[in-house]
């Protein structure tokens, strides 16, 4: 009898430990994985030039670009692929700071387009840029409110009204730094409900109606269509962001990558970008 009881006890114990082990394994696999999707998408091709023997562009270009460039760069990527059959443009959009950190951390990217000179400087300081970054557009802040602007927000000052749920970008992200600059210029103290990790998540809090307003880029307001309403404010002139673009040192297909940068800076590229609400450099 004693033996049997002891054995039962041991069995239970073993099961318990096994269960805990299995659960721990699952914990590992379920580990949080949000943030910028900076997955390495480099092609297996190893040739350093993007041209094949006939002089045509080929291969894959991996572009790391600020979240606010998502719509316009996706359009330009498609145009590029159409103009140069055999090429593919792969994008990783995210907060410029997160992208810069992954580039300096060794993420395989060919082109970097950031939303501020400060985040670009992280990459150039680390010696990861090939050549000097060039400013290709500028972007201005705007207030995104719920459709129809039910809270009658007309100025930056209105955002400081109590009871209003406002989200800003984290100050580590260009849109957050710009928003702080604008608030400082206006001499306003604003306590948001959240500092979001990039401009799209700030915008989406308003799209989902969880927040009443967000300070985002004009381009984001335009991209969201009728899901938000934009309110211009004069202080945004004090916080205009320059967007620099550069070829990266680790680029596999320099010719193809340079051709993509050329398209972004061409008249055609500018048309797409200004159409999305960007300002000329």
């Amino acid at each position: 009898m004693t033996r049997s009881v002891r054995r039962t006890h041991r069995t239970r114990r073993t099961l318990q430990v096994a269960g805990a082990g299995a659960a721990a394994l699952l914990a590992l696999s379920a580990c949080s994985d949000s943030g910028s999707d900076a997955s390495g998408k480099n092609s297996a091709a190893t040739s350093s030039s993007g041209k094949d023997s006939t002089g045509k562009l080929s291969g894959e270009v991996t572009v790391f670009a600020a979240a606010s460039l998502k719509e316009s760069f996706t359009t330009l990527g498609k145009e590029f692929e159409k103009a140069h059959p055999g090429t593919t443009v792969t994008f990783s959009f995210g907060g410029s700071d997160a992208l810069a950190a992954s580039i300096t951390g060794g993420a395989p990217a060919d082109v970097f387009a950031s939303a501020s000179p400060k985040t670009m400087k992280v990459v150039t300081d680390a010696g990861d840029a090939a050549g000097t970054p060039a400013t290709f557009v500028r972007n201005q802040l705007e207030i995104a409110t719920l459709p129809g602007n039910p809270d009658k927000i007309a100025s930056l000052k209105d955002l400081t009204r109590s009871g209003l749920k406002v989200v800003l970008c984290d100050k580590a992200v260009p849109c957050g730094a710009a928003a702080r600059k604008a608030l400082d210029a206006a001499g306003l103290e604003l306590t948001p409900v959240s500092y979001e990790e990039d401009v799209k998540s700030a915008l989406n809090k308003v799209v989902l109606k969880e927040a009443d307003a967000a300070v985002v880029y004009r381009t984001d307001v335009r991209a969201a269509g009728d899901k938000v309403e934009g309110v211009d404010f004069p202080e945004s002139a004090d916080a205009v962001n320059d967007y620099p673009i550069t070829l990266l040192k680790g680029a596999q297909r320099t010719d193809t990558a340079e051709a993509f940068i050329a398209l972004v800076r061409s008249a055609e590229g500018r048309k797409v970008l200004t159409g999305a609400g960007f300002l000329e450099p």
Binding site: G19, A23, A30, D170
Partner: protein
């Protein structure tokens, strides 16, 4: 009854097992060692005494503990139901309970917004009837963490319940105890180690929770910015601070494991 566990082999381990085993060990340990190697030891005291760090750490500990309490109150009865009561669709219920375990946490956060957000399926009534909104609040953090952590507790407790002999409960009920009394006085003490193990797992998972938290509760220092969020955002502009914060979380994890070593980490 199970046969006694086999004794460990006498001879050396065969190479085809030894090499991958060592590689596996290095794989798991190397990143943690790298964290220690790259740690900015000189500026460490300064980095760790900043108010933001303590704020984030305190918030993390409070929220993880509250999430574990929620998981215990709701999860133990749920585990009992799954282990002890025969009902139609039990397999389906179990699958639904374990779903958050395999779901990417960010998806969990989006789902919570859809359900409990200001404009959510349930959240809109909470807002209009009670003026209660959960996103961007500390309560929101607890909810996000409990959502992700509770399945660990349920699975762990259910396993323990299944391994526990139901005859003790049956004996108690034949002696006149109600089923609830039998659960409280007989079953619960019997499965206490399993409940404790599950609670620790849930707590650890809640402490490390990132995706659901930042999606559902946002990021505001002192209110919803837990340690993992602070680490992620610090990494963007101050990698040294991120490493320092990571070391704090690592130390907390090691402390928890060390504290529980005698209870359940040693096999057999």
């Amino acid at each position: 009854m199970t046969p006694p566990p086999p004794r460990p082999g006498r001879g050396g381990a065969p190479l085809p097992l030894l090499l991958p085993a060592l590689a596996g060990l290095v794989f798991l340990v190397l990143p943690l060692v790298a964290l220690l190697v790259r740690a900015p030891w000189r500026s460490m005291p300064e980095l760790l005494t900043s108010a933001e760090v303590w704020q984030a750490l305190r918030l993390s500990l409070v929220c993880a503990t509250a999430a574990t309490a929620v998981s215990l109150v709701l999860g133990v009865p749920l585990a009992w139901l799954l282990a002890r009561v025969e009902f139609r669709g039990r397999g389906l219920v179990r699958a639904l309970v374990t779903l958050p375990l395999v779901l990417p946490p960010v998806v969990g956060g989006v789902a919570l917004l859809m359900a409990l957000g200001r404009n959510g399926v349930v959240g809109r009534w909470l807002d209009s009837w009670f003026g209660l909104t959960l996103p961007f609040t500390t309560t929101g953090v607890v909810i996000a963490e409990a959502f992700v952590a509770m399945p660990f507790l349920v699975i762990s407790v259910e396993g323990t319940l299944r391994a526990a002999d139901p005859r003790y409960e049956e004996a108690a009920t034949t002696l006149g105890a109600s089923r609830f009394t039998a659960f409280r006085r007989v079953t619960l003490p019997l499965i206490a180690p399993g409940v404790a193990a599950g609670a620790v797992l849930a707590w650890a998972r809640a402490l490390g929770e990132f995706g659901a938290t930042i999606t559902f509760a946002g990021n505001f220092p002192g209110r919803t910015q837990t340690m993992p969020l602070a680490v992620y955002l610090a990494l963007q502009n101050d990698p040294e601070a991120a490493i320092a914060l990571s070391l704090v979380l690592l130390a907390v994890s090691i402390a928890v494991l060390a504290g529980l070593r005698d209870r359940w980490m040693t096999a057999s």
